[in-house]
């Protein structure tokens, strides 16, 4: 902990603390006192290794704090209480401990679901149902001699056998386990990884790197055809910030660190990376690199490929890294681009040098209501054309707007609900917006206070040209909250016959509207044709803007009562939706990656020659397929 009592405590520290409280807002429930988040001047590497160690979120035994068959922390979940009202348990989030009165009606009306019809999950992980491990004794013996911790415990192995695809979670809830890794190892540093990879190569053991476990591409699934012993290489204990270079504004970080720790630790020194993918609570730096991740605030900070300055990766052929940290190089194809997006097929990313920025002085949410989605998209396009996008700008369609609305926590004062009523009246009656067509854009501005306000005005002026009405900070903030709790909500749905998933794409501007309409319609039609009894929730939002296009995110969920094989139906619909995306000029993935789920489309995506190039790299770097998760290719 930084100490405030020391005479050197500067103004800067105080300001930084203030900023922190704001920043923490959308992630964490404000805590009494300042003990949780403190600003501190940056100290050189190793100055306080022990204290920072204690603050790390992810323990070796994930089961101590996380669910084994659902999303996130064990203490945080949605449930319908005895009164039939939805509430969110725990203390971690803004929504924690709150009643959400609108959720039940929305849930029942949207899915035709009923609180009477429950589908509870298997409560406990039954270790005896897990296949006994296939061990490579020679490998185990040598590993023991290195002193690197490892485990063959069933729970440990099950935790690392899956990501968060629907079919993976669905199977876990039913207590079904497929092939799981035979053991888990926890390297503590780069050199540990070098040793493990050497041993694996020597004994022909299959390694599957594991970071935060938030994959939604079946990337962590053990290939069922794999006959070798599979070792899950869990990077979670490699989670230190090794140094911060304030002159060049870079930080050298171990790749196992998860997003929230990285931001928190940097914040303590007054810095941030600004990389905030929706999964940042749990996803790891190495995972971001391996999947080409994208953060919500990429408009200011860039995506992972813009943020990374240097990467160190351990492969069966040895360690790959660049010799210097020049900001840009003309030295043939960038070798970083063989690593980024390699999805654990080439090696383990161990250390990354990343750009950092001073924490922003001021942050402000906002929202704009548009009469319809078309106008909203036109506005985002104009914002992109003028290159004045705020840190984040997202456009939710009408269904998602209603979804967000249903998540409004109980308001305490009559005055607030009166104001809400007035706002609604103004928008729908006075301005003539159709409540079944209107949509909302959520905004997040960051920077100097003055510039933020100026920027805000510019964006609202553009929005006004497209019929947009400013709709307040609260709506904006709730929009972002939705992305953090959506995965918890899926677990709630699964308690009541509702299954769902999200998927994403990127697409040129002129096709945004077409792809949104067609994919949503395709989902509805496919569900109908496959016997889904109630129309599905099929909704989308535009989540990122670029010069030449946008990233579109779809949610899709349905009530599976009456279906004998809901997961199969779900997969067929998702498959059809992906085909529709590709037919409409969308990409295979904007940031989720390919994994095994979308492998079948890789060839048409990158052409035969492209496939050959990728294969030849794999053949050189890992000829014996030690990194045998079989993603991507």
């Amino acid at each position: 902990m930084a100490s405030n009592s020391s005479g050197g405590s500067s103004d800067r520290q105080r300001i930084a603390q203030q900023r922190l409280r704001i920043i923490a807002g959308h992630l964490q429930r404000p805590v009494d006192g300042d003990s949780a988040i403190l600003a501190a001047e940056c100290k050189a590497q190793g100055s306080k290794p022990d204290t920072s160690r204690e603050e790390k979120t992810v323990p070796r035994r994930r089961q101590e704090i996380m669910k084994w068959n659902g999303w996130g922390y064990s203490d945080s979940r949605f449930l319908f209480n005895k009164k039939g009202q939805a509430e969110f348990t725990g203390k971690r989030y803004r929504l924690s401990g709150m009643i959400i009165p609108g959720l039940k009606d929305w849930f029942e009306c949207t899915f035709g679901a009923s609180l009477q019809h429950k589908t509870p999950a298997t409560p406990l992980l039954n270790s005896s149902a897990v296949q006994p491990p296939t061990l490579n004794e020679a490998f185990v013996e040598e590993l023991k001699s290195t002193g690197i911790p490892f485990s063959q415990d069933a729970e440990d192995r099950v935790f690392r056998a899956h990501g968060h695809c629907l079919h993976e979670i669905f199977a876990l809830r039913e207590g079904k386990f497929g092939r799981v890794p035979d053991m888990v190892v926890w390297p503590n540093c780069h050199n540990d990884v070098v040793k493990i990879v050497e041993l694996a190569s020597k004994h022909n053991v299959c390694l599957i790197p594991y970071g935060g476990g938030t994959s939604v591409s079946s990337a962590l699934e053990c290939p069922p055809e794999e006959t070798r012993s599979i070792v899950s290489l869990d990077t979670s204990q490699m989670n230190r910030i090794l140094w911060v270079d304030e002159k060049n504004l870079t930080a050298h970080v171990e790749a196992g660190i998860v997003g929230q720790d990285l931001e928190r630790l940097l914040n303590e020194s007054g810095y941030c990376t600004g990389h905030e993918p929706d999964s940042m609570e749990f996803s790891s730096l190495g995972g971001w690199v391996a999947t080409r991740a994208s953060g919500m605030k990429k408009n200011i900070y860039g995506n992972i490929e813009d943020l990374v300055v240097h990467i160190k990766m351990v492969t069966p052929q040895g360690v790959i890294e660049k010799s210097c940290q020049g900001p840009r190089m003309s030295t043939g194809p960038d070798i970083h681009h063989f690593i980024m997006g390699s999805e654990g097929t080439l090696g383990v990313v161990t250390e990354v040098t990343m750009k950092i920025r001073p924490m922003p002085e001021y942050q402000k949410y906002g929202s704009v209501v548009f009469p319809n989605f078309e106008q909203g998209v036109a506005c985002l396009r104009e914002v992109a054309r003028q290159r004045c996008a705020p840190a984040s700008i997202r456009l939710m369609d009408n269904e998602q707007f209603k979804f967000g609305h249903a998540l409004k926590p109980q308001v305490s004062s009559i005055f607030t609900s009166f104001l809400d009523g007035l706002k609604k009246f103004y928008i729908t009656k006075f301005k003539g917006f159709d409540p079944n067509r209107l949509c909302v854009a959520t905004l997040l501005f960051e920077g100097d206070r003055e510039k933020v306000l100026q920027h805000e005005k510019q964006v609202y002026d553009i929005a006004a040209k497209f019929g947009g009405l400013a709709a307040g900070e609260d709506n904006g903030q709730r929009g972002y909250m939705l992305t953090f709790v959506i995965a918890y909500l899926r677990d709630l749905g699964m308690d009541y016959y509702v299954i769902g998933e999200s998927f994403e794409t990127s697409v040129p501007w002129d096709r945004v509207l077409d792809i949104c309409r067609n994919v949503k319609a395709r989902i509805v039609r496919e569900c109908k044709e496959r016997g889904v009894q109630f129309p599905p929730l099929s909704t989308c939002r535009v989540t990122q803007t670029y010069d030449a296009g946008a990233c579109v995110y779809f949610y899709f969920a349905f009530n599976y009562r009456g279906l004998s094989d809901p997961v199969h139906v779900y997969e067929q619909v998702e498959h059809a939706a992906r085909e529709e995306i590709l037919a409409n000029g969308g990409s295979l993935s904007h940031h989720h990656g390919v994994g095994k789920l979308r492998k079948e489309w890789m060839r048409e995506t990158v052409s035969n020659v492209g496939m050959g190039m990728l294969k030849s790299v794999k053949d050189y770097v890992d000829p014996n397929n030690i990194f045998g998760n079989r993603n991507l290719l």
């Binding site: 319809n372 078309e374 002129d510 096709r511 077409d514 792809i515 309409r517 067609n518 319609a521 395709r522 590709l582 037919a583 409409n584 000029g585 048409e604």
Partner: protein
């Protein structure tokens, strides 16, 4: 795929219960009341409200049109502004201006006209209900066949009556030129397309953007004739692909989720223009569309035209139909509004769909008892019809036989079992007193009297006179050709080749399909299915036995076999006449204008000399089809340099085609390669 579009219970006598006579109610309640009824349709849900003016504005501002405008300005050296103005002018001439008031006016007028012309107008309610549903879900394309001017507004009239959004309709520009009427039509939803647009790039661009904008926006259901124009012969025409392509492109390019095609079959007991059409086919020019002409034509209003059937087909999803036939990713790498030639894949898909639609129209049309009779009358020697008269007894017996065959072949017959058969046939003949009359138990062909009165007619004029009656008769036969054409081709193949080998027969069958591809509608790439169907149908009527290798004749079905073969004989004879003309010395390069009268003269001569037994060779339609077929077979080529559409003959190729057709030499596949499966 073959059967997905077919209605499950399509075959057999039409169940009158699902057809409702919409004139029935009009005869019992106020016409004005109908015209002023509350019109409250459920439009396409995806459409944002848009006026005709806004639609036009969107068209002129479209990126695609901007590209083309710029391109044309560069090519012609004129300014972009000038080209834009020209585009404006084109759009003004073209665009519709649909207004409810005029729909009401149209409704009122049509009620009056229809009540006078027809005893009843039957509409299938089931189809209408499905249409009503479909219109709310996707943009809808209404695709009726076109057999008479009368049907131009019939769809709008029906939709108005049943509270369904009225369509915008693609019409030929001559209609726009009619005083008053043109404007009324425009306000009833018609938009006007020039004939022979040829290579006018700007016109194509404006038209296609206009059509695409309507589909994209779901502005209104769009109605157009996939056959391009009114069929002069009552036979389905080879579909035109331009309009079809424009309509489908928004789906190909992902601008709409789906498009629904609704094939509509309109069938008449008796067509108003029957005599006019026959004369047109014999070279008498069509009267120009004019308001005066329309008023003068009011004398046709005095006559009885029996009933009209409007059969709304099952709405078809373009998305489903095109599944696996079009790779929509092909538009991913270039801006979608960049002017581009359609790919071969897209063209093939459009052509396939267009042909499919015409086939569904055919299958949905109702065949009247009179068509059966016309068919049989045409098979009697001409002297019997003109002089001796055909025994009524013989005709009715044969008609009943044919009725059974048609039913076996799955035709939709408008022959309810309620009235006695003899009454049905008598009234059919009575309705068609302009073509035949019955006297003393015999049936005679009616010859035009007016010509005869003025002066003694020449032999040639006599031929034309008879020909007019024969062609009218032929047009009613044409209404049912689609039922028989496939087995008839096989019967002909058996007759000409005298072979029993399946593969030989298939080869000849393919040759005939190729040769007659402009005469009858065959769906591309369905040769082997068509052949299978033909085999099955011949087997069904007991005419042949079929084994793995062979198709052998059976004694049981000789009657059917000779009927089927006789059905195609006029076509074969006519084609041979034209082959003969083209093989003659002296004919090397010719224009269509020269070709038609020259062939007509030759045919007349041959008829007079008794060498040719069919008058159908005189039909300009048949003549043009031969020309198109020969061009397709590359026996005739169009001269590029020529301005007047000159053609050059390859005499050897024409002779060879004629020889194959007469069975002198075996067919080698002329153009299309045989289907891989056989």
């Amino acid at each position: 795929m073959t059967n997905t579009y077919r209605d499950s219970g399509r075959a057999g006598l039409v169940d009158e219960r699902q057809f409702v006579d919409i004139l029935e109610e009009r005869r019992h309640s106020s016409d004005l009341g109908h015209a002023l009824r509350t019109f409250n349709p459920h439009p396409y849900q995806g459409a944002a409200p848009c006026s005709a003016a806004e639609l036009n504005k969107a068209v002129l501002e479209a990126q695609y049109l901007r590209y083309v405008t710029k391109e044309i300005a560069m090519e012609t050296g004129s300014s972009v502004e000038e080209v834009r103005k020209e585009a404006c002018g084109i759009l003004e001439e073209m665009s519709q201006n649909l207004q409810l008031g005029f729909i009401r006016l149209m409704g009122y007028t049509l009620t009056k006209v229809f009540k006078r012309l027809f005893t009843s107008i039957f509409v299938n309610m089931e189809g209408l209900n499905m249409l009503q549903q479909a219109i709310q879900e996707t943009p809808v394309i209404l695709m009726p066949n076109h057999r008479s001017y009368v049907d131009f507004l019939i769809i709008s009239y029906i939709l108005f009556t049943y509270d369904i959004p009225v369509p915008v309709i693609a019409a030929g520009i001559p209609l726009a030129g009619m005083k008053m009427v043109g404007e009324i039509l425009r306000r009833s939803g018609a938009f006007f397309i020039r004939r022979a647009i040829g290579s006018d790039k700007l016109y194509w661009a404006v038209l296609s953007e206009y059509v695409k904008a309507i589909v994209r926006k779901g502005y209104a259901p769009m109605e157009f004739y996939v056959e391009g124009l009114r069929s002069r012969t009552l036979k389905s025409l080879t579909p035109k692909l331009g309009m079809m392509h424009m309509v489908l492109e928004p789906y190909f390019k992902g601008e709409v989720f789906d498009i629904t095609l609704v094939p509509i079959s309109i069938s008449y007991d008796r067509v108003l223009e029957e005599s006019l059409l026959a004369h047109e086919l014999l070279g008498v020019p069509k009267p120009k569309e004019s308001t005066m002409g329309l008023l003068k034509a009011s004398k046709v209003l005095q006559e009885d035209y029996g009933t009209m059937h409007v059969n709304f087909g099952r709405p078809l999803s373009v998305r489903q139909l095109c599944h696996g036939k079009i790779n929509r990713c092909q538009y991913n790498l270039i801006p979608r509004d960049l002017p581009q030639k359609p790919t071969a894949e897209a063209q093939a898909c459009v052509s396939w769909l267009a042909h499919l639609m015409v086939r569904i129209q055919e299958e949905g049309s109702l065949i009247s008892p009179w068509s059966l009779m016309a068919c049989l009358l045409l098979q009697a020697p001409i002297t019997v019809l003109t002089e001796e008269g055909l025994l009524w007894q013989q005709l009715t017996e044969k008609t009943l036989w044919l009725r059974k065959l048609a039913l076996d072949y799955g035709a939709r017959l408008n022959w309810s079992g309620q009235a006695p058969d003899s009454d049905v046939m008598s009234s059919a003949v009575a309705l068609h007193c302009s073509i035949v009359h019955r006297k003393a138990g015999r049936v005679y062909l009616v010859q035009e009297e007016e010509l005869a009165r003025k002066r003694p007619i020449s032999l040639e004029e006599g031929v034309t006179r008879t020909a007019a009656a024969v062609l009218m008769l032929a047009s009613y036969r044409n209404q049912l050709l689609h039922v028989f054409v496939r087995p008839a081709l096989l019967a002909t193949a058996i007759h000409i080749t005298k072979s029993t080998q399946r593969n030989e027969l298939f080869t000849f069958f393919c040759f005939l399909q190729d040769l007659f591809s402009y005469e009858f509608i065959f769906i591309p790439d369905k040769l082997s299915q068509d052949f299978e169907e033909a085999c099955l149908l011949l087997k069904k009527c007991g005419a042949v036995h079929i084994s793995q290798q062979e198709v052998t004749l059976s004694d049981m079905g000789l009657e059917a076999l000779s009927f089927l073969q006789a059905l195609l004989q006029p076509f074969i004879d006519s084609y041979q006449v034209m082959f003969r003309y083209l093989s003659e010395e002296g004919v090397n390069v010719f224009t269509e204008k020269q070709f038609l009268p020259a062939v007509r003269n030759l045919a007349t001569k041959l008829i007079l000399s008794g060498e040719l037994h069919t008058y159908e060779a005189l039909s300009s339609d048949t003549q043009k089809n031969v020309l198109s077929a020969l061009r397709r077979l590359e026996a005739v080529t169009k001269l590029r340099a020529s301005e007047q559409n000159e053609y050059k003959v390859n005499k050897a190729a024409v002779r060879r085609t004629g020889d194959i057709l007469s069975g002198k030499i075996p067919p080698q596949m002329l153009q299309t390669t045989p289907d891989a499966r056989l």
